[in-house]
Protein backbone atom coordinates (compact mmCIF):
# COMPACT_ATOMS: atom_id res chain seq x y z
CA UNK A 1 0.00 0.00 0.00
CA UNK A 2 1.18 3.48 -0.85
CA UNK A 3 1.66 6.06 1.90
CA UNK A 4 -1.57 7.38 3.42
CA UNK A 5 -1.96 10.99 2.41
CA UNK A 6 -4.16 13.88 3.43
CA UNK A 7 -4.97 17.56 3.34
CA UNK A 8 -4.26 19.91 6.22
CA UNK A 9 -6.19 23.11 5.61
CA UNK A 10 -4.95 25.98 7.76
CA UNK A 11 -7.83 28.46 7.72
CA UNK A 12 -5.76 31.10 9.52
CA UNK A 13 -3.86 31.80 6.29
CA UNK A 14 -6.67 31.29 3.76
CA UNK A 15 -7.21 34.54 1.83
CA UNK A 16 -10.34 33.43 -0.03
CA UNK A 17 -8.77 33.68 -3.48
CA UNK A 18 -10.63 30.56 -4.71
CA UNK A 19 -7.63 29.34 -6.67
CA UNK A 20 -8.41 25.88 -5.24
CA UNK A 21 -11.94 25.98 -6.67
CA UNK A 22 -10.64 27.02 -10.08
CA UNK A 23 -7.85 24.45 -10.10
CA UNK A 24 -10.30 21.70 -9.11
CA UNK A 25 -12.71 22.69 -11.87
CA UNK A 26 -9.91 22.82 -14.44
CA UNK A 27 -8.19 19.55 -13.60
CA UNK A 28 -11.39 17.54 -13.19
CA UNK A 29 -13.10 19.20 -16.16
CA UNK A 30 -16.02 20.25 -13.97
CA UNK A 31 -18.50 22.55 -15.71
CA UNK A 32 -19.86 25.73 -14.21
CA UNK A 33 -23.00 25.26 -12.18
CA UNK A 34 -26.23 25.96 -14.09
CA UNK A 35 -24.25 26.71 -17.21
CA UNK A 36 -22.58 29.65 -15.49
CA UNK A 37 -25.87 31.46 -14.96
CA UNK A 38 -25.38 31.60 -11.21
CA UNK A 39 -27.11 34.48 -9.42
CA UNK A 40 -25.29 36.37 -6.72
CA UNK A 41 -25.95 34.64 -3.42
CA UNK A 42 -25.72 37.63 -1.14
CA UNK A 43 -23.49 35.55 1.13
CA UNK A 44 -20.40 37.73 1.28
CA UNK A 45 -18.05 36.90 -1.61
CA UNK A 46 -19.31 33.35 -1.74
CA UNK A 47 -21.39 32.57 -4.82
CA UNK A 48 -20.46 28.88 -4.85
CA UNK A 49 -22.55 28.60 -1.64
CA UNK A 50 -21.90 24.91 -0.99
CA UNK A 51 -20.18 21.81 -2.24
CA UNK A 52 -22.10 20.30 -5.15
CA UNK A 53 -21.84 17.79 -7.96
CA UNK A 54 -19.63 20.25 -9.89
CA UNK A 55 -18.03 22.09 -6.96
CA UNK A 56 -15.74 19.69 -5.16
CA UNK A 57 -13.97 22.56 -3.41
CA UNK A 58 -15.88 25.40 -1.80
CA UNK A 59 -14.34 28.44 -0.17
CA UNK A 60 -16.62 29.50 2.64
CA UNK A 61 -16.65 33.16 3.68
CA UNK A 62 -17.76 34.05 7.19
CA UNK A 63 -18.13 37.74 8.07
CA UNK A 64 -18.08 38.48 11.79
CA UNK A 65 -18.71 42.21 12.27
CA UNK A 66 -20.14 44.32 15.03
CA UNK A 67 -23.40 46.12 14.28
CA UNK A 68 -21.65 49.42 13.48
CA UNK A 69 -18.99 47.47 11.56
CA UNK A 70 -16.23 49.20 13.54
CA UNK A 71 -14.86 45.83 14.61
CA UNK A 72 -14.79 42.56 12.79
CA UNK A 73 -12.92 39.76 11.12
CA UNK A 74 -13.16 37.47 8.14
CA UNK A 75 -13.00 33.72 8.38
CA UNK A 76 -12.34 31.79 5.21
CA UNK A 77 -12.14 28.06 4.75
CA UNK A 78 -11.65 25.90 1.70
CA UNK A 79 -14.07 23.01 2.26
CA UNK A 80 -13.73 19.59 0.64
CA UNK A 81 -14.57 15.92 1.18
CA UNK A 82 -13.01 14.86 4.47
CA UNK A 83 -11.93 11.40 3.25
CA UNK A 84 -12.96 10.03 6.67
CA UNK A 85 -11.06 7.08 8.13
CA UNK A 86 -14.45 5.48 8.94
CA UNK A 87 -16.36 6.90 5.99
CA UNK A 88 -20.19 6.76 6.35
CA UNK A 89 -20.64 6.95 2.56
CA UNK A 90 -18.36 3.98 2.00
CA UNK A 91 -20.07 2.07 4.78
CA UNK A 92 -23.59 2.32 3.36
CA UNK A 93 -22.82 2.13 -0.38
CA UNK A 94 -24.74 -0.98 -1.52
CA UNK A 95 -22.98 -1.40 -4.86
CA UNK A 96 -19.38 -1.23 -3.67
CA UNK A 97 -18.91 1.84 -5.83
CA UNK A 98 -17.27 3.80 -3.02
CA UNK A 99 -13.89 2.38 -2.13
CA UNK A 100 -10.82 3.24 -0.10
CA UNK A 101 -7.78 3.70 -2.29
CA UNK A 102 -4.21 2.65 -1.67
CA UNK A 103 -3.59 6.27 -0.54
CA UNK A 104 -6.24 5.90 2.22
CA UNK A 105 -8.56 8.29 0.39
CA UNK A 106 -12.25 7.68 -0.38
CA UNK A 107 -13.09 7.34 -4.05
CA UNK A 108 -16.33 6.89 -6.03
CA UNK A 109 -16.01 4.52 -8.98
CA UNK A 110 -18.31 6.18 -11.49
CA UNK A 111 -18.94 3.09 -13.66
CA UNK A 112 -20.21 1.17 -10.62
CA UNK A 113 -22.46 3.80 -9.00
CA UNK A 114 -26.15 3.43 -9.84
CA UNK A 115 -27.29 6.65 -8.21
CA UNK A 116 -29.21 5.22 -5.24
CA UNK A 117 -28.20 8.25 -3.13
CA UNK A 118 -27.75 6.28 0.09
CA UNK A 119 -24.30 7.88 0.43
CA UNK A 120 -25.92 11.33 0.43
CA UNK A 121 -28.09 10.43 3.41
CA UNK A 122 -25.06 9.05 5.22
CA UNK A 123 -22.50 11.83 4.72
CA UNK A 124 -22.68 14.09 7.80
CA UNK A 125 -20.82 16.86 5.95
CA UNK A 126 -23.20 17.20 2.98
CA UNK A 127 -20.33 16.53 0.60
CA UNK A 128 -21.83 14.12 -1.95
CA UNK A 129 -24.29 15.14 -4.68
CA UNK A 130 -25.63 13.45 -7.79
CA UNK A 131 -24.31 14.78 -11.07
CA UNK A 132 -26.94 16.20 -13.39
CA UNK A 133 -24.72 15.17 -16.34
CA UNK A 134 -23.52 11.71 -15.33
CA UNK A 135 -26.37 10.77 -12.98
CA UNK A 136 -23.98 9.24 -10.46
CA UNK A 137 -22.72 10.39 -7.05
CA UNK A 138 -19.89 12.89 -7.25
CA UNK A 139 -17.34 14.34 -4.84
CA UNK A 140 -13.65 15.15 -4.51
CA UNK A 141 -11.52 12.28 -5.83
CA UNK A 142 -8.45 13.59 -4.00
CA UNK A 143 -7.12 13.85 -7.56
CA UNK A 144 -6.65 10.08 -7.59
CA UNK A 145 -5.23 10.26 -11.10
CA UNK A 146 -2.62 12.77 -10.00
CA UNK A 147 -1.73 10.74 -6.90
CA UNK A 148 -1.12 7.70 -9.09
CA UNK A 149 1.42 9.80 -10.99
CA UNK A 150 3.15 11.19 -7.88
CA UNK A 151 1.57 14.61 -8.36
CA UNK A 152 0.11 16.95 -5.78
CA UNK A 153 -3.69 17.35 -5.93
CA UNK A 154 -4.67 20.35 -8.04
CA UNK A 155 -6.14 22.42 -5.20
CA UNK A 156 -3.09 22.11 -2.97
CA UNK A 157 -0.82 22.77 -5.95
CA UNK A 158 -2.67 25.99 -6.75
CA UNK A 159 -3.07 27.35 -3.21
CA UNK A 160 -0.85 30.48 -3.14
CA UNK A 161 -0.63 30.77 0.67
CA UNK A 162 -0.17 27.05 1.36
CA UNK A 163 -3.38 27.11 3.37
CA UNK A 164 -4.08 23.73 1.77
CA UNK A 165 -1.19 21.46 2.58
CA UNK A 166 -0.83 18.03 1.03
CA UNK A 167 1.41 15.22 2.21
CA UNK A 168 1.69 12.01 4.22
CA UNK A 169 -1.05 12.18 6.84
CA UNK A 170 1.18 11.53 9.85
CA UNK A 171 3.57 14.26 8.79
CA UNK A 172 0.68 16.67 8.27
CA UNK A 173 -0.65 15.95 11.75
CA UNK A 174 2.70 16.79 13.31
CA UNK A 175 2.93 19.98 11.28
CA UNK A 176 -0.60 20.90 12.31
CA UNK A 177 0.10 20.46 16.01
CA UNK A 178 3.23 22.61 15.72
CA UNK A 179 1.23 25.25 13.88
CA UNK A 180 -1.43 25.38 16.61
CA UNK A 181 1.25 25.75 19.28
CA UNK A 182 2.85 28.54 17.26
CA UNK A 183 -0.47 30.39 16.90
CA UNK A 184 -1.17 29.99 20.61
CA UNK A 185 2.26 31.46 21.38
CA UNK A 186 1.35 34.45 19.18
CA UNK A 187 -1.82 34.99 21.22
CA UNK A 188 -4.32 33.34 18.86
CA UNK A 189 -5.68 31.12 21.59
CA UNK A 190 -8.82 30.21 19.59
CA UNK A 191 -6.88 28.13 17.08
CA UNK A 192 -7.53 24.39 17.28
CA UNK A 193 -7.48 21.34 15.06
CA UNK A 194 -10.67 19.77 13.70
CA UNK A 195 -10.57 16.12 12.61
CA UNK A 196 -6.88 15.65 13.28
CA UNK A 197 -7.44 13.02 15.97
CA UNK A 198 -9.77 10.00 15.84
CA UNK A 199 -12.75 11.61 17.60
CA UNK A 200 -14.66 12.39 14.39
CA UNK A 201 -15.32 9.22 12.40
CA UNK A 202 -11.97 7.71 13.30
CA UNK A 203 -10.15 10.78 11.98
CA UNK A 204 -10.42 12.95 8.89
CA UNK A 205 -7.78 12.66 6.21
CA UNK A 206 -8.74 16.19 5.21
CA UNK A 207 -8.54 18.04 8.52
CA UNK A 208 -8.54 21.70 9.49
CA UNK A 209 -7.09 24.35 11.69
CA UNK A 210 -10.08 26.45 12.73
CA UNK A 211 -10.42 29.73 14.59
CA UNK A 212 -14.07 29.42 15.67
CA UNK A 213 -16.43 26.58 16.67
CA UNK A 214 -17.18 24.03 13.89
CA UNK A 215 -20.74 25.33 13.39
CA UNK A 216 -19.33 28.68 12.23
CA UNK A 217 -17.80 26.89 9.26
CA UNK A 218 -20.80 24.66 8.65
CA UNK A 219 -19.07 21.63 10.13
CA UNK A 220 -20.71 19.10 12.47
CA UNK A 221 -19.33 18.23 15.88
CA UNK A 222 -18.10 14.75 16.75
CA UNK A 223 -21.49 14.08 18.35
CA UNK A 224 -23.31 14.99 15.13
CA UNK A 225 -21.05 13.11 12.69
CA UNK A 226 -21.63 9.44 13.33
CA UNK A 227 -21.43 6.15 11.52
CA UNK A 228 -24.80 5.04 10.09
CA UNK A 229 -24.21 1.45 11.20
CA UNK A 230 -24.55 2.52 14.83
CA UNK A 231 -28.31 2.28 14.40
CA UNK A 232 -28.49 -1.04 12.52
CA UNK A 233 -28.46 -3.43 15.48
CA UNK A 234 -30.56 -1.32 17.91
CA UNK A 235 -33.15 -0.80 15.15
CA UNK A 236 -33.05 -4.46 14.14
CA UNK A 237 -33.55 -5.73 17.68
CA UNK A 238 -36.59 -3.48 18.12
CA UNK A 239 -37.96 -4.69 14.80
CA UNK A 240 -37.54 -8.30 15.90
CA UNK A 241 -39.35 -7.48 19.16
CA UNK A 242 -42.20 -5.88 17.19
CA UNK A 243 -42.33 -8.97 14.95
CA UNK A 244 -42.74 -11.16 18.03
CA UNK A 245 -45.56 -8.94 19.34
CA UNK A 246 -47.36 -9.19 15.98
CA UNK A 247 -46.80 -12.94 15.88
CA UNK A 248 -48.20 -13.19 19.42
CA UNK A 249 -51.29 -11.32 18.25
CA UNK A 250 -51.68 -13.74 15.35
CA UNK A 251 -51.27 -16.70 17.69
CA UNK A 252 -53.91 -15.36 20.06
CA UNK A 253 -56.23 -14.70 17.10
CA UNK A 254 -55.77 -17.87 15.07
CA UNK A 255 -54.06 -20.36 17.37
CA UNK A 256 -56.39 -20.17 20.37
CA UNK A 257 -59.44 -20.63 18.18
CA UNK A 258 -57.88 -23.57 16.35
CA UNK A 259 -57.21 -25.24 19.69
CA UNK A 260 -60.78 -24.57 20.85
CA UNK A 261 -62.22 -26.00 17.62
CA UNK A 262 -60.02 -29.09 17.93
CA UNK A 263 -61.08 -29.62 21.55
CA UNK A 264 -64.76 -29.20 20.62
CA UNK A 265 -64.41 -31.72 17.80
CA UNK A 266 -62.69 -34.30 20.01
CA UNK A 267 -65.36 -33.84 22.71
CA UNK A 268 -68.17 -34.45 20.23
Amino acid sequence: MATAVGFFTDTSICIGCKACEVACHQWNALPARDGGQVPLSGLSYDNTVSLSDVDWRHVRFVEQFSEDRSQGRWLMMSDVCKHCVNAPCLEVCPTGSIVRTEFDTVYIQEPVCNGCRDCITACPFGVIHVSARKHVAQKCTFCYDRLQNNMTPACAQACPTKSIKFGPIEQLRMEARDRVQHLHSLGAKDAYLYGEDDKILGGLNAFYLLMDPPATYGLPTAEQAKLPSRKVWPSSFRSIAASLVIAAGAFLTFGRRKKAVAEAESAS
Binding site: S50, E91, V92, C93, P94, T95, G96, S97, P111, V112, C113, N114, G115, C116, R117, D118, I120, T121, A122, C123, P124, F125, G126, V127, I128, V130, H135, V136, G218, L219, P220, Q224, A225, K226, P228, S229, K231, V232, P234, S235, S236, F237, R238, S239, A241, A242, S243, V245, I246, A247, G249, A250, F251, L252, T253, F254, G255, R257, K258, V261
Partner: protein
Protein backbone atom coordinates in the same frame (compact mmCIF):
# COMPACT_ATOMS: atom_id res chain seq x y z
CA UNK B 1 -35.57 25.93 14.34
CA UNK B 2 -33.99 23.38 16.65
CA UNK B 3 -30.68 22.25 15.22
CA UNK B 4 -30.42 18.50 14.88
CA UNK B 5 -27.79 17.98 12.23
CA UNK B 6 -28.02 20.74 9.67
CA UNK B 7 -24.97 19.83 7.60
CA UNK B 8 -26.22 16.87 5.61
CA UNK B 9 -27.54 17.16 2.07
CA UNK B 10 -31.04 16.23 0.95
CA UNK B 11 -31.02 12.78 -0.67
CA UNK B 12 -34.22 13.62 -2.52
CA UNK B 13 -35.90 10.33 -1.74
CA UNK B 14 -39.38 11.42 -2.69
CA UNK B 15 -42.49 10.01 -4.38
CA UNK B 16 -41.15 6.69 -5.71
CA UNK B 17 -39.60 5.84 -2.34
CA UNK B 18 -42.73 6.84 -0.41
CA UNK B 19 -44.86 4.65 -2.67
CA UNK B 20 -42.33 1.83 -2.31
CA UNK B 21 -42.41 2.06 1.47
CA UNK B 22 -46.22 2.03 1.39
CA UNK B 23 -46.80 -0.76 -1.15
CA UNK B 24 -43.88 -2.81 0.15
CA UNK B 25 -45.36 -2.51 3.63
CA UNK B 26 -48.73 -3.79 2.40
CA UNK B 27 -47.12 -6.69 0.55
CA UNK B 28 -45.00 -7.65 3.54
CA UNK B 29 -47.68 -7.07 6.17
CA UNK B 30 -50.40 -8.96 4.35
CA UNK B 31 -48.09 -11.87 3.49
CA UNK B 32 -46.85 -12.09 7.08
CA UNK B 33 -50.45 -12.33 8.28
CA UNK B 34 -51.21 -15.07 5.76
CA UNK B 35 -48.09 -16.98 6.74
CA UNK B 36 -48.90 -16.68 10.45
CA UNK B 37 -52.49 -17.82 9.82
CA UNK B 38 -51.05 -20.77 7.92
CA UNK B 39 -48.82 -21.59 10.88
CA UNK B 40 -51.19 -21.00 13.78
CA UNK B 41 -54.65 -21.26 12.25
CA UNK B 42 -56.70 -23.93 10.53
CA UNK B 43 -57.78 -24.49 6.95
CA UNK B 44 -60.51 -21.84 7.24
CA UNK B 45 -57.91 -19.22 8.21
CA UNK B 46 -55.44 -20.29 5.54
CA UNK B 47 -58.10 -20.00 2.83
CA UNK B 48 -59.62 -16.93 4.43
CA UNK B 49 -56.40 -14.95 4.19
CA UNK B 50 -55.52 -16.01 0.66
CA UNK B 51 -56.12 -12.42 -0.51
CA UNK B 52 -52.58 -11.82 0.73
CA UNK B 53 -51.30 -14.36 -1.77
CA UNK B 54 -52.98 -12.45 -4.58
CA UNK B 55 -51.57 -9.15 -3.33
CA UNK B 56 -47.96 -9.90 -2.40
CA UNK B 57 -46.40 -10.69 -5.78
CA UNK B 58 -47.98 -7.89 -7.85
CA UNK B 59 -47.24 -5.34 -5.14
CA UNK B 60 -43.65 -6.40 -4.57
CA UNK B 61 -43.12 -6.44 -8.35
CA UNK B 62 -44.36 -2.85 -8.55
CA UNK B 63 -42.03 -2.05 -5.65
CA UNK B 64 -39.09 -3.45 -7.58
CA UNK B 65 -39.97 -1.27 -10.54
CA UNK B 66 -40.33 1.81 -8.34
CA UNK B 67 -36.92 1.21 -6.82
CA UNK B 68 -35.32 0.78 -10.23
CA UNK B 69 -36.98 3.89 -11.65
CA UNK B 70 -35.84 5.88 -8.63
CA UNK B 71 -32.18 5.12 -9.34
CA UNK B 72 -30.33 7.81 -11.25
CA UNK B 73 -28.84 5.03 -13.37
CA UNK B 74 -31.70 2.47 -13.55
CA UNK B 75 -29.84 0.25 -16.01
CA UNK B 76 -27.34 -0.48 -13.24
CA UNK B 77 -29.94 -1.77 -10.75
CA UNK B 78 -28.25 -5.18 -10.76
CA UNK B 79 -25.14 -3.67 -9.17
CA UNK B 80 -27.12 -3.94 -5.90
CA UNK B 81 -26.89 -7.73 -6.11
CA UNK B 82 -23.93 -8.53 -8.35
CA UNK B 83 -20.50 -6.92 -8.40
CA UNK B 84 -20.22 -5.32 -11.81
CA UNK B 85 -16.56 -6.19 -12.33
CA UNK B 86 -16.17 -9.64 -10.83
CA UNK B 87 -19.79 -10.82 -11.14
CA UNK B 88 -19.59 -12.20 -7.60
CA UNK B 89 -22.55 -11.51 -5.29
CA UNK B 90 -22.60 -8.01 -3.79
CA UNK B 91 -23.52 -8.23 -0.13
CA UNK B 92 -22.70 -5.95 2.80
CA UNK B 93 -24.45 -7.14 5.97
CA UNK B 94 -23.85 -3.78 7.66
CA UNK B 95 -25.57 -1.81 4.85
CA UNK B 96 -29.39 -1.94 5.17
CA UNK B 97 -29.81 -1.13 1.49
CA UNK B 98 -27.57 -4.03 0.48
CA UNK B 99 -29.27 -6.48 2.83
CA UNK B 100 -32.63 -5.08 1.78
CA UNK B 101 -31.95 -5.80 -1.88
CA UNK B 102 -31.36 -9.46 -1.06
CA UNK B 103 -34.30 -9.56 1.35
CA UNK B 104 -36.63 -8.16 -1.30
CA UNK B 105 -35.43 -10.77 -3.80
CA UNK B 106 -35.97 -13.56 -1.28
CA UNK B 107 -39.42 -12.27 -0.37
CA UNK B 108 -40.23 -12.06 -4.08
CA UNK B 109 -39.51 -15.81 -4.31
CA UNK B 110 -41.95 -16.65 -1.51
CA UNK B 111 -44.56 -14.31 -2.97
CA UNK B 112 -44.18 -15.89 -6.43
CA UNK B 113 -44.63 -19.40 -5.03
CA UNK B 114 -47.74 -18.32 -3.14
CA UNK B 115 -49.17 -16.49 -6.14
CA UNK B 116 -48.74 -19.54 -8.33
CA UNK B 117 -50.18 -21.78 -5.62
CA UNK B 118 -53.31 -19.74 -4.97
CA UNK B 119 -54.02 -19.44 -8.70
CA UNK B 120 -53.84 -23.22 -8.98
CA UNK B 121 -55.83 -23.87 -5.79
CA UNK B 122 -58.58 -21.44 -6.81
CA UNK B 123 -58.71 -23.06 -10.25
CA UNK B 124 -57.78 -19.85 -12.06
CA UNK B 125 -54.95 -21.60 -13.91
CA UNK B 126 -54.18 -25.23 -14.53
CA UNK B 127 -50.75 -26.84 -14.64
CA UNK B 128 -52.10 -30.26 -15.49
CA UNK B 129 -50.69 -33.06 -13.38
CA UNK B 130 -48.74 -30.55 -11.28
CA UNK B 131 -51.93 -29.07 -9.81
CA UNK B 132 -52.42 -31.80 -7.24
CA UNK B 133 -48.76 -31.80 -6.18
CA UNK B 134 -48.73 -28.03 -5.69
CA UNK B 135 -51.88 -28.10 -3.57
CA UNK B 136 -50.55 -31.02 -1.52
CA UNK B 137 -47.29 -29.16 -0.88
CA UNK B 138 -49.18 -26.02 0.16
CA UNK B 139 -51.26 -27.90 2.71
CA UNK B 140 -48.49 -30.14 4.04
CA UNK B 141 -45.33 -29.78 6.10
CA UNK B 142 -43.43 -28.14 3.26
CA UNK B 143 -46.16 -25.53 3.05
CA UNK B 144 -45.74 -24.81 6.76
CA UNK B 145 -41.95 -24.62 6.40
CA UNK B 146 -42.44 -22.17 3.55
CA UNK B 147 -44.83 -20.21 5.75
CA UNK B 148 -42.13 -19.88 8.40
CA UNK B 149 -39.60 -18.72 5.80
CA UNK B 150 -42.14 -16.45 4.16
CA UNK B 151 -43.17 -14.81 7.42
CA UNK B 152 -39.52 -14.14 8.32
CA UNK B 153 -38.87 -12.62 4.88
CA UNK B 154 -42.07 -10.58 5.15
CA UNK B 155 -41.18 -9.28 8.62
CA UNK B 156 -37.78 -8.29 7.24
CA UNK B 157 -39.23 -6.42 4.24
CA UNK B 158 -41.78 -4.71 6.47
CA UNK B 159 -39.16 -3.38 8.87
CA UNK B 160 -35.85 -2.92 7.06
CA UNK B 161 -37.02 0.28 5.36
CA UNK B 162 -37.23 1.93 8.77
CA UNK B 163 -33.80 0.57 9.70
CA UNK B 164 -32.52 1.97 6.39
CA UNK B 165 -33.74 5.45 7.31
CA UNK B 166 -32.25 5.17 10.80
CA UNK B 167 -28.86 4.12 9.38
CA UNK B 168 -28.14 7.58 7.95
CA UNK B 169 -27.12 10.95 9.31
CA UNK B 170 -30.40 12.66 8.39
CA UNK B 171 -32.23 14.62 11.10
CA UNK B 172 -35.30 12.91 12.62
CA UNK B 173 -34.49 9.60 10.88
CA UNK B 174 -31.21 8.81 12.57
CA UNK B 175 -32.03 10.19 16.01
CA UNK B 176 -33.81 7.08 17.26
CA UNK B 177 -33.82 3.31 16.64
CA UNK B 178 -37.63 3.00 16.53
CA UNK B 179 -38.43 3.55 12.85
CA UNK B 180 -37.96 -0.10 11.83
CA UNK B 181 -40.46 -1.38 14.38
CA UNK B 182 -42.87 1.48 13.64
CA UNK B 183 -42.83 0.70 9.92
CA UNK B 184 -43.37 -2.97 10.69
CA UNK B 185 -46.44 -2.27 12.83
CA UNK B 186 -47.76 -0.02 10.06
CA UNK B 187 -47.05 -2.75 7.50
CA UNK B 188 -49.13 -5.15 9.61
CA UNK B 189 -52.09 -2.76 9.98
CA UNK B 190 -52.12 -1.77 6.29
CA UNK B 191 -51.54 -5.38 5.23
CA UNK B 192 -54.55 -6.57 7.22
CA UNK B 193 -56.63 -3.66 5.90
CA UNK B 194 -55.74 -4.69 2.34
CA UNK B 195 -56.66 -8.32 2.96
CA UNK B 196 -60.02 -7.18 4.37
CA UNK B 197 -60.71 -4.94 1.36
CA UNK B 198 -59.82 -7.61 -1.20
CA UNK B 199 -61.72 -10.28 0.72
CA UNK B 200 -64.89 -8.18 0.91
CA UNK B 201 -64.85 -6.68 -2.59
CA UNK B 202 -63.04 -9.22 -4.79
CA UNK B 203 -63.08 -12.72 -3.27
CA UNK B 204 -66.47 -12.41 -1.55
CA UNK B 205 -66.39 -16.00 -0.23
CA UNK B 206 -64.41 -15.35 2.95
CA UNK B 207 -66.45 -16.33 6.03
CA UNK B 208 -67.55 -13.52 8.35
CA UNK B 209 -65.82 -15.28 11.23
CA UNK B 210 -62.47 -14.92 9.48
CA UNK B 211 -63.14 -11.24 8.76
CA UNK B 212 -63.98 -10.71 12.43
CA UNK B 213 -60.74 -12.36 13.47
CA UNK B 214 -58.82 -10.19 11.02
CA UNK B 215 -60.44 -7.06 12.39
CA UNK B 216 -59.40 -8.13 15.89
CA UNK B 217 -55.84 -8.65 14.69
CA UNK B 218 -55.95 -5.27 12.96
CA UNK B 219 -56.82 -3.60 16.26
CA UNK B 220 -53.85 -5.40 17.84
CA UNK B 221 -51.55 -4.04 15.09
CA UNK B 222 -53.03 -0.55 15.36
CA UNK B 223 -52.50 -0.58 19.12
CA UNK B 224 -48.87 -1.54 18.62
CA UNK B 225 -48.47 1.13 15.95
CA UNK B 226 -49.87 3.83 18.26
CA UNK B 227 -47.53 2.70 21.02
CA UNK B 228 -44.51 2.76 18.70
CA UNK B 229 -45.50 6.10 17.20
CA UNK B 230 -45.55 7.61 20.69
CA UNK B 231 -42.25 5.94 21.51
CA UNK B 232 -40.65 7.22 18.29
CA UNK B 233 -41.61 10.84 18.87
CA UNK B 234 -40.85 10.54 22.58
CA UNK B 235 -37.35 9.32 21.81
CA UNK B 236 -36.84 12.12 19.27
CA UNK B 237 -36.80 14.56 22.18
CA UNK B 238 -37.14 18.31 21.90
CA UNK B 239 -37.24 18.50 18.06
CA UNK B 240 -40.53 16.56 18.09
CA UNK B 241 -42.62 19.71 18.42
CA UNK B 242 -40.94 21.31 15.43
CA UNK B 243 -41.02 18.10 13.42
CA UNK B 244 -44.79 17.76 13.81
CA UNK B 245 -45.52 21.46 13.37
CA UNK B 246 -44.03 21.62 9.87
CA UNK B 247 -45.27 20.01 6.69
CA UNK B 248 -45.27 17.06 6.21
CA UNK B 249 -44.63 16.03 9.84
CA UNK B 250 -47.87 17.75 10.84
CA UNK B 251 -49.73 14.95 9.07
CA UNK B 252 -48.96 12.61 11.97
CA UNK B 253 -50.96 14.42 14.68
CA UNK B 254 -53.47 15.93 12.23
CA UNK B 255 -54.34 12.87 10.17
CA UNK B 256 -52.45 9.65 10.85
CA UNK B 257 -53.32 9.30 14.54
CA UNK B 258 -56.96 10.52 14.58
CA UNK B 259 -58.16 9.32 11.17
CA UNK B 260 -55.72 6.58 10.19
CA UNK B 261 -55.48 4.77 13.50
CA UNK B 262 -58.02 5.74 16.17
CA UNK B 263 -61.13 6.33 14.03
CA UNK B 264 -60.90 2.95 12.21
CA UNK B 265 -60.95 1.12 15.56
CA UNK B 266 -64.27 2.76 16.43
CA UNK B 267 -65.67 2.34 12.91
CA UNK B 268 -64.92 -1.40 13.08
CA UNK B 269 -67.27 -1.62 16.06
CA UNK B 270 -70.24 -0.05 14.25
CA UNK B 271 -73.14 -2.23 13.11
CA UNK B 272 -72.99 -1.07 9.53
CA UNK B 273 -72.38 -3.06 6.37
CA UNK B 274 -69.73 -0.75 4.95
CA UNK B 275 -67.74 -0.49 8.16
CA UNK B 276 -65.01 -2.93 7.07
CA UNK B 277 -64.39 -1.07 3.82
CA UNK B 278 -64.38 2.38 5.40
CA UNK B 279 -62.16 1.41 8.31
CA UNK B 280 -59.73 -0.42 6.02
CA UNK B 281 -59.56 2.48 3.56
CA UNK B 282 -58.80 4.87 6.41
CA UNK B 283 -56.05 2.61 7.76
CA UNK B 284 -54.51 2.53 4.27
CA UNK B 285 -54.69 6.31 3.90
CA UNK B 286 -53.15 6.64 7.35
CA UNK B 287 -50.36 4.25 6.41
CA UNK B 288 -49.53 6.25 3.30
CA UNK B 289 -49.66 9.54 5.21
CA UNK B 290 -47.34 8.11 7.89
CA UNK B 291 -44.69 7.25 5.32
CA UNK B 292 -45.14 10.56 3.52
CA UNK B 293 -44.66 12.40 6.80
CA UNK B 294 -41.68 10.38 8.03
CA UNK B 295 -39.81 10.48 4.70
CA UNK B 296 -40.30 14.23 4.37
CA UNK B 297 -39.65 15.08 8.00
CA UNK B 298 -35.93 15.96 7.69
CA UNK B 299 -36.58 18.57 5.00
CA UNK B 300 -37.57 21.52 7.23
CA UNK B 301 -34.44 20.96 9.30
CA UNK B 302 -32.21 20.81 6.22
CA UNK B 303 -33.71 23.83 4.50
CA UNK B 304 -33.70 25.80 7.71
CA UNK B 305 -29.97 25.42 7.99
CA UNK B 306 -29.01 26.60 4.54
Amino acid sequence: MTTLDPYVADAEWHSYIIWYFFLGGIAAGSYAMFALANLFGDEEDRRGLRAAEYLALPLISICGLLLIIDLNRPERFWHMLIQSRTFWPMFKWWSPMSVGSWGLSLFGGFAAWSFLGVLVEDGRISLGRWNELIIRIRKGHIGRALAIGGSLAAFFVGSYTGVLLAATNQPTWSETPWLGSLFLASAASTGIASILLVSVHALKDVPHAVLDRLERLDRWAIGLELLLLGTYFGSLGSPTLEAVSHWPGVLVPAFVVPFGLIAPVFIQRLRWKGRVSLASAMVLLGGFALRYAIVGMPEPFLHGSR
